[in-house]
């Protein structure tokens, strides 16, 4: 393994003259030999700082809806779901974004966002719970955190490690800039498909734990499937996720026989219609 690595490195060094090319390719080599789980874990303080930066980028693309009742509602539903998981004590923060695009996002450390465009297309709190639980699962499994670490250059990772390993450490300006760029590229490109499928599988279970009909997430996927794939409000979602049809098929197969027994759990459609309907009627 080691000999091979050195041989490959030598070939690269001979083939490419510039230091920059060397830097880029040594990352690829390291990535190829290491799975994300081999990365030295960032502690919760580091995760919070990375998450804060990522969240600022997401909300920079579209701000929060200015409606306290709606935002309080989504935080109550979201935290209730998060309390059913292995990371109940993270500082969970949920928000509805002022955008007509159809999407939802998670950021490390407990940030979860959903766009107005997606929220308004739902029919019940069970559907909202399904989507929030999917995003919560990305946080639980540190999908974005691992991807950011994996995509960052060695220099940034080292900097993050040392910044977070001492008590008063903060990111240097250069490292912060790099983190912003790595993170925003990740959100424009999306996670690996397997991470999305994993979040789907976990999300339906978390919704069931919280007392909801776990078919809320499949129902949302069915709604998305019905939309015109050329609709510009879907561009980012379709670019960054497997097709709704594929996700629905996988969930359908997994849930039959395992989640059926929870299928008669609550939809909480009344409260959803009241809160989200009141917001929708306000029109802003």
């Amino acid at each position: 393994m080691m000999t091979r690595f050195i041989t490959a490195l030598t070939i690269l060094l001979l083939g490419m003259g510039t230091v920059q090319a060397f830097n880029l390719d040594i990352n690829k080599l390291i990535d190829a030999g290491k799975s994300a789980s081999d990365l030295k874990p960032v502690d919760e303080k580091g995760e919070a700082e990375i998450g804060n930066t990522a969240a600022a980028g997401i909300l920079g693309a579209a701000p929060l809806v200015k409606d306290e009742k709606l935002q309080a509602y989504i935080n109550q539903v979201g935290l209730w779901l998060a309390l059913q998981t292995e990371r109940p004590d993270l500082p969970w923060r949920f928000g509805v974004m002022d955008s007509d695009s159809v999407n939802a996002f998670a950021a490390p450390g407990g940030y979860v966002f959903i766009t107005r465009g997606l929220l308004l297309r739902m029919h019940s709190e069970a559907e909202l719970a399904g989507v929030l639980a999917h995003e919560i699962s990305h946080v639980l499994k540190r999908h974005h955190l691992n991807a950011i670490q994996k995509n960052a250059q060695v220099g940034l990772v080292t900097n993050l490690m040392s910044a977070f390993s001492n008590d008063n450490g903060t990111l240097t300006g250069e490292a912060k800039k790099k983190l912003i760029s790595v993170s925003s590229e990740l959100y424009a490109r999306g996670l690996d498909k397997d991470d999305e499928f994993e979040a789907d599988k976990m999300g339906v279970v978390i919704a069931a734990r919280a007392g909801y009909d776990p078919y809320g997430l499949p129902a949302v996927l069915q709604t998305l499937e019905a939309m015109n794939a050329q609709d510009s409000s879907l561009a980012l979602m379709f670019k960054t996720h497997p097709t709704p049809q594929k996700r629905l098929e996988l969930l359908d197969g997994l849930m039959t026989g395992t989640m059926d027994r929870y299928a008669s759990q609550l939809l909480v459609a009344d409260r959803f219609e009241k809160v989200v309907g009141t917001y929708a009627r306000s029109g802003h």
């Binding site: 997401i58 701000p63 929060l64 015109n228 980012l236 609550l266």
Partner: protein, 174 residues
Amino acid sequence: MKRFSILLALLLLPLLVYGGEAAQTLIKTDLKQEPFADAKIIATLDASTAVEVIKRQGGWMQVKPATGAEGWVKMTTIKIGGPGAAAKGDTGMTSLWNVASQGRSGNTGVTVATGVRGLSPEDMKNAKPAPDEVKKLDNYAASKSQAESSASKAKLASQKVDYLAEAKSAGGKK
């Protein structure tokens, strides 16, 4: 007068938000009396039969065919959207929003292109960080007791459910 007609439109929109969404069967499908696999079959619908969705429960949709009685079909046997017509995706509360924000019903077939706040891959890549928006989240955050009381108001009870086995390296509930 315009205001009045908007108000009227709002009032006339069905309260049951799934109510009346058009759909069609993807394959030849049994229409069941209840949302269970072993429930009585009341009719068999051909592929591409137009139906109206009444509601959903679990993996089942209660639908009404143009002719005949309503019943339940497996969710995956239907596609939302009318036959042939391009689906507009105006589901859920979308028409309420469209009426209120643009003064016109989402059912008119008019697509309003102006004022749509998008979120494209380029928007994500080029976004200027908004740390102040992140700070605002603290004002909206729920406490544990608020979340629990809100759940209990909706009669939601928590229970132990194991992650699905296929989820890689997923542990049980702590």
